[in-house]
Amino acid sequence: MDNGKIIETVGLTKRYGPQTAVDHLSFQVEDGEIFGFLGPNGAGKSTTLLMLLGLSRPTEGSARVCGLDPIRKAREVKRLVGYLPENVGFYGDMDAVQSLEYVAGLSGISTANLGDKIERLLDLVGLKAEARKKVGAYSRGMRQRLGVAEVLIKDPKVLFLDEPTLGLDPDGALRLIELIHSLNRDHNITVVLSSHNLYQVQKISHRVGIMIKGKMVAEGSMEKLAQDKFGVGDKEYSLEEIYMKYFQEV
C-alpha cells in the first residue's frame, strides 16, 4: 500500500535441499497494473506466487503484499489476493452455483445477497447459461472461467493468475484474456499474470518481468526492455523477440 506498491519483495529465496528454486528475488508490482510474469517452466514462478500468498515459507528474504507480511498475516493477505492456480481443480459433482457458494462460505462472505452476487459473477464470466450444470461436465475453458469467478467472489484487490490460458483453444484464451483486461480496467484489480502466451501478455500487460532459473533477469515496461536489449531503434520489438534474447543469454 505504501508508495503505491502492491507487491514488494526483497531478496526472496526458496531452497529445496541443495536446489534453489527462487534466488534472491527482488521485484515490485504497482497498484492497478497488469504485471506479466514470464519465464520458462520450472523457473520458480509458481513458487514465488505461493510465497507471496503465505502458502510456502521463504528460506530467506521477505515480501510485502498490500503492505502485509504474507507469513505473519497469511489470512489477511489471502483475503485481499485471489489466486487461480495452474490446473485448478473443482468438485465434479457440484454445479457452478454450489462451487461459488462453497468458496464464499470459506471466505466468510455473508449469505445475504449472495445469490445476486453469484449471478452477477456468472454473467461476468459468461457462464450464466450453464450455472446449474455439474462442473464435471464443463469444458476446460468453462472451468477456467469458473475459476476466475471463484477468485472474484471475495472482491480481491489483487489477482494471481498462474497460466490461466494453458490448454485453452484460441477463442477461449482470447475471451479469458479479455476478461482479465476488463477486470483490471473496470474494477481496478491489480493482476499478476503468469503465462507462456507472450502475444497475449504483450497485449494487456503494463509491465513484464522475466524470470529465469529463479532470478528476475529483466523487469519493466516493454519499451524499456526493448531499449535495454536492442538499443533505441525505430523498429518495434515484440515481447517474443525480447524474451528469446534474454533466454538465450542465460
Binding site: 489470512r75 481443480g89 462460505g105 470459506l106 466468510g108
Partner: protein, 319 residues
C-alpha cells in the same frame, strides 16, 4: 471459524450423499438388525430360565446370537466405518487439485483437517447412535423389556467409547491419506494396519507369551507360571485397539463382569464369596474397572489426530 464451518458442512453433505456411506450403513444396519432379532427371539423364549435377569435389556447388546453379539460386531467391523470415511479425505483433494484452492482461501489451514475430522466424527456418531436406537426399539417390541436409568447410562457410556474407537480409525485413515499421494495406497495401508492390529496382534501375543514364559507339562500345575504366561499374553494383546475396546465395553455393557483379567487368583473364601454374592457392579465401579482401557483408547485417538494435524500443517502443498 467460518472456514471450519464451511468445510465441515460440505464434508458432512458429501458423506451423507455418497454411495459408500449408504452401502456401509445398509450392511451395518442389516447385521445389527439380524443379530438383535436373533438375540431377541432367543431371549423371549428363555427369559424365564435365565439365571440372572438383573439387566435383561443390556443382554440385547451383549448376548452372542448365532454368530456374534452387537458389541463384538462393532469391535470387529466398526473400524471399517472409520477407514471408509477417511481413507481418501486429503489425497483425493490433492489429486483433483482442489486442496491448493481450499488453502488459498482466507482460512487457517487447520480448518481443512479439523472440518474433515469433525464431519467424520459426527457421521460416525449418528451411525452408531441410530444403530443403538434401532436395537433398543427392537428390544421393546420383541422382548418387551424397558430399559432402566442405569441401563441407559451404560449404553451412553458404551456409545461414547465406541465413537472414540471408530474415530481412532478415522484418524488413522486421514493420516494415511495425508502421507500417501495415491488413494489406493492409503486405502490398502489403513486396511493392512487394521487387520494387523485387530487380528494378528492376538496371535502374536500367544507366540510371545509361549516363548517367554512357556507353560509345559512340568509347570502346568504351577499357578505362578500360568499366571506369568497369561500376563504377558494380555499385555501384548493390549497393543491392539480392538482388545482395548472389547475389554472396556464388555465390562460396561455387562454389569456382572467384575474384572478385566482373564485369570484371577482367589483363595477358597474369596471363591465362596464370589459364587454366593453374584450382584452386579454399580456403574461407577464398572467405570473404575475400565478406566485405564478407556483412557488409553481416547489417548490413542487424540495422538493419532495430533500426528495427522502436525504432518498436514508442516506439509508444503503445491497442487
Amino acid at each position: 471459524m467460518q472456514g471450519l464451518y464451511a468445510v465441515f458442512r460440505k464434508e458432512l453433505c458429501d458423506h451423507f450423499s455418497s454411495y459408500r456411506f449408504v452401502i456401509l450403513f445398509a450392511v451395518i444396519a442389516m447385521v445389527s438388525f439380524i443379530t438383535s432379532y436373533v438375540v431377541g427371539i432367543h431371549m423371549r423364549q428363555n427369559l424365564e430360565a435365565l439365571s440372572n435377569t438383573k439387566f435383561p435389556f443390556l443382554m440385547l447388546f451383549s448376548t452372542t446370537g448365532t454368530l456374534f453379539s452387537m458389541v463384538q460386531f462393532v469391535a470387529f467391523f466398526g473400524p471399517l466405518i472409520g477407514l471408509v470415511l477417511g481413507f481418501d479425505s486429503i489425497n483425493r483433494e490433492r489429486a483433483h487439485g482442489t486442496l491448493i484452492k481450499l488453502i488459498s482461501q482466507p482460512i487457517y489451514r487447520d480448518a481443512v483437517i479439523n472440518g474433515k475430522f469433525l464431519a467424520g466424527v459426527v457421521t460416525i456418531s449418528i451411525m452408531l447412535l441410530s444403530i443403538v436406537l434401532v436395537i433398543t426399539g427392537f428390544g421393546l417390541a420383541i422382548v418387551g423389556v424397558v430399559p432402566g436409568i442405569e441401563e441407559i447410562w451404560r449404553l451412553t457410556v458404551y456409545l461414547v467409547i465406541s465413537i472414540f474407537y471408530v474415530s481412532l480409525w478415522l484418524g488413522v485413515s486421514i493420516l494415511f491419506s495425508i502421507l500417501f499421494r495415491s488413494i489406493a495406497t492409503s486405502a490398502l495401508a489403513s486396511v493392512a494396519l487394521w487387520i494387523f492390529l485387530s487380528f494378528f496382534v492376538s496371535l502374536g501375543a500367544d507366540v510371545v507369551a509361549n516363548t517367554v514364559a512357556p507353560v509345559n507339562q512340568q509347570n502346568a500345575a504351577n499357578p505362578e507360571a500360568v499366571l506369568r504366561n497369561t500376563r504377558i499374553k494380555e499385555s501384548v494383546g493390549l497393543c491392539s485397539p480392538m482388545v482395548l475396546y472389547s475389554r472396556a465395553t464388555a465390562t460396561i455393557i455387562d454389569p456382572m463382569r467384575k474384572t478385566n483379567r482373564a485369570i484371577v487368583l482367589m483363595g477358597p473364601m474369596e471363591e465362596l464369596l464370589a459364587s454366593r454374592f453374584q450382584n452386579p457392579l454399580p456403574l461407577s465401579q464398572s467405570l473404575i474397572v475400565v478406566f485405564p482401557h478407556t483412557t488409553a483408547l481416547i489417548a490413542i485417538t487424540l495422538i493419532c489426530f495430533a500426528i495427522s494435524y502436525t504432518v498436514f500443517m508442516m506439509q508444503e502443498i503445491r497442487t
